[in-house]
Amino acid sequence: MKVVFRLYLLLSSISLFGQNYITPKGEFMDTTRVYSPGCAPPYQIFYYQVKAKYPVSSALLLAESRNFIKSKERINSGSGYVTFRFIIDCEGIMSRVLVQQTDENYKPFHFEKEFVNDLYSYLKTMRLWKTHLRVENLNNINYVAFVSFKIKNGEIINIIP
């Protein structure tokens, strides 16, 4: 019974992977919040308040993400920004992933869903987030971070921050 239940959970999580959830707070790739045991309470702290910008340069991430998207062998289109904003818990686990999309003029826009899903899959390969950070007397804090992909004619041309 336990095995069947676990299998059900696994399959349901696969089917939901990459799915967008529209809520009053925006469009999410993942609505759950994950806080590992031992992490501080979920205060809203931003990555820049704890010097937690992702520790790999934009140039390297750009090369890596372009290869990742190329491996999907899809022809993408559209220009603008796809931004994922999420929580990184004290162990470096990403959750609660909001997605925002705009055109080059920063007006709301939607890229093809498969492309956004591929970008999200790439985002989940980024696993070098800073962990076990401290603010004043608070240990093991969680923080909010974002990664924005700048797209030109379906190609990633920059990664922000």
């Binding site: 809203q44 931003f46 820049y48 308040q49 010097k51 910008k53 520790p55 790999v56 340069s57 934009s58 140039a59 390297l60 920004y81 931004t83 904003r85 925002q100 705009t102 080059e104 920063y106 007006k107 709301p108 909010v144 974002f146 924005s148 700048k150 920059n158 922000i160 921050p161």
Partner: protein, 271 residues
């Protein structure tokens, strides 16, 4: 202080009668500045990540919707959390109300925060017409145009802009130090143009001003590697050492975003 008191009393009196509401003259620079002073002080007590930050600026906008700074301030948390749609809607409003004051700043945001080079160049061209030879966020407009051209691969234009930026800095007084990042980027552009002699000269000059700058050491190391100079290893070693000691490009906004060609430890360790 007296000014603040008068303003405070006048705001207190607003709800008492509809007649007194008409007394705030939003077209008056004095009224705008006074209101801005009061609302800024209130807002910065919370900080821009507090929900009252936005409410505070909305209050000011409801009193005088023509104060450009209110929109620019309201945009800050959106910009810093990557919500470009909301951030630029507000920044655009600020520019519309006071282009002389805000267009160069928006150009800076396009250049540094969203890497939207075409828009950055357009804004700086207009800014140059409105306020010639000025600076924004510690640098001349030419510096940011240089970055925008470098980002798009227009190396000749980028070089011209960084040279102009340096000339502008020199023209402000012969005792003025040249900003090390101006020399860094000029050196990087020349390196990418394979003008190794000029690149070496400018990167070395940059290191005179700031010897611990990891990027200057890294790109000088790259340059030496390209021309077969064994000193390359020494500069990669310096780049790693200073990076690990926490030295960086020393730009105010690098805590939020990476600057163009800014390196990480991964690149240095790959050498």
């Amino acid at each position: 202080m007296g000014k603040l008191l008068i303003l405070f009393l006048s705001i207190l009196l607003i709800p008492t009668s509809s007649r007194s509401q008409q007394k705030i003259d939003c077209s008056s620079k004095f009224a705008q500045d006074s209101l801005l002073e009061v609302y800024s002080a209130k807002a910065w007590k919370f900080g821009y990540n507090h929900p009252d930050w936005e409410a505070n600026w909305d209050s000011l906008i409801s009193i005088c919707p023509n104060i450009a700074d209110a929109y620019q301030e309201k945009a800050i948390p959106y910009l810093k959390s990557g919500d470009y749609a909301k951030a630029f809607e507000l920044e655009d409003k600020a520019v519309e109300l006071d282009p002389k004051r805000w267009i160069a700043y928006r150009g800076f945001l396009h250049c540094i925060f969203t890497k939207n080079c075409e828009k950055a160049l357009t804004d700086f061209q207009l800014a140059e017409q409105l306020v010639p030879n000025a600076s924004v966020m510690d640098h001349t407009y030419s510096f940011f145009c240089g970055l925008a051209y470098l980002e798009t691969g227009a190396l000749e234009e980028a070089e011209k802009m960084f040279l102009k930026d340096i000339e502008q800095q020199k023209s402000r007084g012969k005792d003025n130090d040249i900003h090390f990042n101006s020399l860094l980027y000029l050196g990087i552009v020349q390196f990418e143009k394979r003008d190794y002699i000029e690149a070496e000269r400018n990167l070395k000059e940059c290191l005179i001003y700031y010897s611990q700058l990891p990027e200057a050491n890294y790109f000088l190391g790259q340059l030496f590697k390209a021309i077969g100079n064994p000193d390359s290893d020494l500069h990669f070693k310096f780049a790693k050492q200073y990076f690990n000691q926490g030295y960086s490009m020393n730009e105010d906004n690098e805590v939020y975003v990476n600057y163009l060609r800014q390196i990480s430890l991964v690149e240095i360790e790959r050498q």
